[in-house]
């Protein structure tokens, strides 16, 4: 026991001596998800679930399987205020850059099944959402969602997050936030323009469609 404690202390001292550049290796992302961080950040799992599966009905997004760089970018934006959110801003601010990086990598690698959603949306709503997602609304110059978010909404790189299996309530909240100018951290303001072309029922439909897709189907962890 004593040896183990000594070892821990030595590792901690080593990490402190090595400085910020190597701290990412010493951050226990799983511990932060389950129990929060020492400097005051709440446990991610309280809202996003033990496995990052989210709480769809409450609009708490699924984080599991998102692109790691996208997660870090959003935490950075939440911390800087580029993305405003009363709950997340103080948490993101409390996380060090190394902790954000470690959380991004950890959450990106999780693949829990989709959190259950009740009640299920009507089939015709999902069908309308599918049409918009796959065919766009070109009479309004609105391209297909999948033309940027990838086939099946699996996500593309740091800027176009995975939508497959995401909480419909969360997607709808974000589209509404872009439409009303409450969220503005979209590159080139692409989503501001896109959301402004959707009415409330189209937003609900497209959100229901992406929620209906499996988050762990072909496409892997991202």
């Amino acid at each position: 026991m004593a040896i183990r404690t000594l070892g821990k202390a030595a590792a901690l001292t080593g990490a402190l001596l090595l400085g910020a550049g190597t701290r990412a290796q010493t951050v226990d992302a799983k511990a932060i998800v389950m129990g929060g961080a020492a400097n005051g950040a709440n446990a991610c799992s309280a809202c996003h679930g033990d496995q990052g599966e989210g709480r769809p009905e409450a609009g708490f997004p699924r984080l599991a399987g998102l692109n790691p760089d996208y997660i870090v970018q959003q935490l950075n934006d939440l911390a800087s205020g580029a993305r405003a959110n009363e709950t997340m801003t103080p948490i993101a601010k409390a996380l060090s850059p190394a902790e954000r990086t470690a959380l991004g990598a950890y959450l990106a690698g999780l693949q829990p099944p989709a959190a259950p959603v009740e009640p299920k949306p009507e089939e015709k709503v999902v069908a309308e959402g599918k049409k918009i997602a796959l065919q766009g609304l070109w009479d309004k110059d609105l391209p297909q969602c999948v033309s940027c978010h990838g086939a099946g909404g699996v996500g593309v790189g740091v800027n176009f997050p995975k939508l497959a299996g995401q909480s419909a309530q969360y997607i709808a909240n974000q589209l509404d936030a872009w439409k009303t100018g409450k969220r503005t951290n979209d590159p080139l303001h692409l989503m501001t323009g896109v959301a402004s072309k959707l009415d409330d029922s189209q937003i609900a439909a497209v959100a229901a469609y992406f929620e209906s897709l499996s988050p762990v189907a072909a496409g892997g962890a991202q």
């Binding site: 692109n67 065919q135 766009g136 070109w138 110059d141 609105l142 391209p143 033309s147 940027c148 978010h149 990838g150 086939a151 099946g152 699996v154 996500g155 593309v156 790189g157 800027n159 176009f160 995975k162 590159p187 080139l188 692409l190 323009g193 896109v194 072909a218 496409g219 892997g220 991202q222």
Partner: protein, 342 residues
């Protein structure tokens, strides 16, 4: 003048301008402008001058607003019956949407038909398939022949898709032709209808590829990548097409012409923000994109200089020109490359 600054030595007034306007009016992209619908040079010059004035007054005029050509509304595919013809037309739609999956033997890069013809070939001002169908067969200067619709599409596979042309009558071409015909049914043959091709932009006095590089970084790189190589989705499929390099269109493609690329960009890019770039930004970013190396022209005869003289002798074509000390085409990856390895 820096090495990547191009000066086409164009005046914007007088006879040269009128000649240029006429030249633009008769250029071929996805389809030719039949002589019957080409206005006299004087009229066209006036219209182009008006466009310039409008552009000065409003930085991003609607491209549709200045299209005076006859309007034709293409038939939606859900109105096409589910009979034998309908099946073939829908196969064509599927090929258009996912060319690699459905006609992979003829594709040598990471592009799909729909990358340059948005909304699966339906979108106006994005060289829509239905409008192209109405203006063929036609004589094209590119190969000095009367092209049928099928032989025109052979060119798409050979150049834009950097692949191999299907034989005339191949099911791939029959299906694509059926798809185009299904949408064009009832339209006026021989008439360039509103939305056909890419709306031509008045030529600028100079092209500034260095400025285009900055435009690319600001407006294009978020999707196409800082290196122009495009981006794959999380399952490895190409979402954003490569704009240069070994996996993009080759030097023989229409899009390798700066005037075509500028017209496409202005009317369609960034996706969902059509018309938002100034004409200057569209020209300059097109000049930057088309000053990058890409697969060899399949008509290459062993000499870049001779190939330029034979097929690229235009101020809007950078093949064989020297940029930053490198002659474009000299280090081109081979044409007709192999399909993507998934």
């Amino acid at each position: 003048m820096s090495a990547d600054r191009i000066d086409p030595k164009l005046g914007l007034a007088g006879v040269l301008f009128l000649a240029t306007a006429f030249y633009l009016g008769t250029l071929v992209s996805s389809g030719p402008q039949p002589a019957a619908t080409t206005p006299p040079a004087t009229t066209h010059g006036g219209a182009a001058a008006k466009k310039l004035a409008e552009a000065a007054a409003a930085p991003a005029p609607s491209v549709a607003a200045v299209d005076a050509r006859p309007v034709f509304v293409p038939l939606p595919m859900d109105k096409v019956p589910e009979d034998e013809f309908g099946k073939m037309a829908r196969l064509g739609e599927a090929i258009f949407h996912d060319t690699r999956a459905n006609a992979g033997a003829f594709v040598g890069n990471d592009l799909q038909c729909r990358n340059c013809h948005l909304d699966d070939g339906r979108h106006a001002n994005s060289a829509p398939l239905w409008a192209a169908y109405l203006v063929y067969p036609a004589y094209r200067k590119k190969d000095h022949e009367v092209n049928t619709f099928q032989s025109r599409m052979q060119g798409c596979f050979r150049y834009s898709m950097n692949g191999k042309a299907p034989e005339l009558g191949d099911k791939v071409l029959v299906a694509l032709e059926a798809y185009a015909y299904a949408m064009a049914k009832g339209g006026p043959t021989g008439v360039a209808v509103a939305g056909q091709g890419y709306p031509r932009l008045a030529e600028p006095a100079t092209l500034d590829a260095a400025h285009g590089k900055a435009v690319f970084a600001e407006k294009c790189a978020v999707c196409h990548g800082a290196d122009g190589a495009g981006q794959n989705d999380a399952s490895g499929q190409t979402t954003f097409p490569p704009l240069w390099g070994a996996r993009s269109y080759n030097w023989g493609a229409g899009m390798a012409s700066i005037s075509n690329a500028a017209a496409f960009v202005k009317a369609n890019m960034p996706l969902s923000q059509a018309g938002s770039l100034s004409d200057k930004d569209a020209w300059d970013v097109a000049a930057f994109i088309d000053s990058q190396e890409r697969p060899q022209d399949p008509r290459f005869n062993g000499s870049v200089a001779e190939t330029r003289k034979a097929f690229h002798d235009s101020k809007m074509d950078m093949y064989g020109q020297t940029v930053d000390g490198v002659t474009l085409g000299q280090n081109a990856p081979p044409s007709g490359a192999t399909p993507k390895q998934q």
